[in-house]
């Protein structure tokens, strides 16, 4: 039985238009024991990101003499998905840990902390599509919160194709039953892609159009990131010892 993902009015299963994002919420500095942290909600997806570092490298043989090392762990809580996820890292979590790390590594100034490492933790407490992109968005906030030097922030979103229509910010149902999903992470000021994957079938034109949709969305997400950072660290300093 084929599920209809776009109805006769062109609306999606949750009533959204193809170019509409779900409600997004961000908060910075939500955890005490990390050096930087953030919480992001995108529809039903809920994620905590934490950054610890720069710190000494363990095990020591992974230390680099001229630059820092980034570790990233993308992990889903067992209750975050419909079917309980058993304990331990799955292959998917390992792959996502890698691509998220590589996205963030691209913009972090690793040369500024040789022989040190930065740990990034992305904890998904509920998954409803777009977890890796929401995770990167959260991790970028956590890195800024931790004062880690970077060339740019990163904002990310997943574009999909359902019933032949390109849609922005796919939810879980669309991810499961759609024809393609393409997560994209962008450094907005550098206007460059730092993460890109495609799972499914898309023509080159669709990929172009999808990237355009992603770029527009990323601008809005980036603006939300800036606002979230400003909310945490309000206005003027006075009497600062410089």
């Amino acid at each position: 039985m084929k599920i209809r993902l776009i109805d006769e009015n062109g609306l999606r299963v949750d009533g959204r238009r193809p170019d509409e994002m779900r409600r997004m919420r961000m908060e910075v500095g939500v955890l005490e024991k990390t050096d930087g942290s953030a919480y992001v909600e995108l529809g039903g997806t809920r994620i905590y990101a934490g950054v610890i570092g720069p710190r000494e490298v363990h095990p020591k043989h992974l230390e680099l003499p001229d630059k820092g090392v980034i570790n990233c762990r993308y992990h889903m809580a067992s209750f975050s998905v419909d079917e309980r996820k058993p304990l331990g890292m799955t292959r998917r979590e390992i792959e996502l840990s890698k691509v998220i790390r590589e996205a963030l590594e691209t913009v972090v100034f690793l040369e500024e902390f040789p022989r040190m490492m930065i740990d990034i933790f992305v904890e998904v407490i509920q998954a409803d599509g777009g977890t890796r992109t929401a995770g990167i968005t959260a991790a970028s906030l956590a890195l800024a919160d931790a004062g880690i030097p970077m060339a740019d922030m990163i904002a990310a979103i997943a574009v999909g194709k359902v019933d032949g229509v390109l849609v922005l910010d796919i939810n879980e149902e669309e991810d499961k039953y759609g024809e393609a999903d393409m997560p994209v992470a962008i450094a907005p000021h550098l206007n460059s892609i730092v993460l890109l994957q495609l799972n499914g079938r898309m023509t080159p034109e669709e990929v172009d159009k999808g990237l355009e949709m992603a770029q527009k969305a990323v601008k809005k997400i980036h603006q939300m990131q800036i606002e979230a950072l400003k909310r945490k660290y309000r206005v003027e300093p006075e009497g600062l010892e410089t």
Binding site: R73, G88, E123, I125
Partner: protein, 275 residues
Amino acid sequence: MSLGLEKRGYGIKIMKNKIYELLKIGKRIDEREPLQYRKIEISTGVVEKANGSALVSLGKTKILTGIKVEVGTPYPDRPNEGVFTVNAELLPLASKTFEPGPPDERAIELSRIVDRVIRESKAIEVEKLCIVEGQKVYMIFIDCYVLDYDGNYFDASVLSAVAALKTMTLPVYRVVDGRIEAVPGEKMKLPMRTLPVSVTMALIRDKIVVDPLPAEEDVADTVVTIGYDSEGVLSAVQKSSPGLLPVNMFKEMVKIGLDSSAMLRRRLLEGVGDG
């Protein structure tokens, strides 16, 4: 009141002195009284995909518990009882001393203590969770995640787990044509006969404090966690730290713990909307 100093084998002399000096006049380093808990915040139903969930803050310690329900086979010696397991994880972002990877002895101890408090108090009426005797029963997975650690993950985890259990919903299963099916539109609450809580206490020389901070645990002679049910019957005890525990001090702890358990239960009921 957190210190950026972790993983020490030595004590901080001025803190040790100050903690004991303050205790002599009935105060602690964060201005609390010895038998006073930090601020407790409880929110339930925070993860809709879970059958039950609760986020608990105890001071700056934060625990998130999620519960998932499946259908499974009972233990052979308990053919008509539902089954539950407790698993706790110390997430690496909760503390610089928590490393990623399989649960270490602290995580396992936490899992087993939370399990003990709930299981031995017979809090869950497992005999009401049978679907087909000897074949199919409800399986309840209780997963506690420590998101932020500032001392006493024991009490916070128990509160979180019990709050999630109290507010969870389970599908109602019926046997239809030899198959187990969830009755659409019908949900049930978890049958519970008591609300267990735990009270963790630190012994600092001859003074007992509840809900210890990491700095207090560092200077404590020892730390003990006691689980109580709604009738004040103990269901679990764990001395979770090396050090001498004089018998009379433990007896004192049992009494102090009883009073605190009543307070915690009240907070728990308020937190789940039954207060």
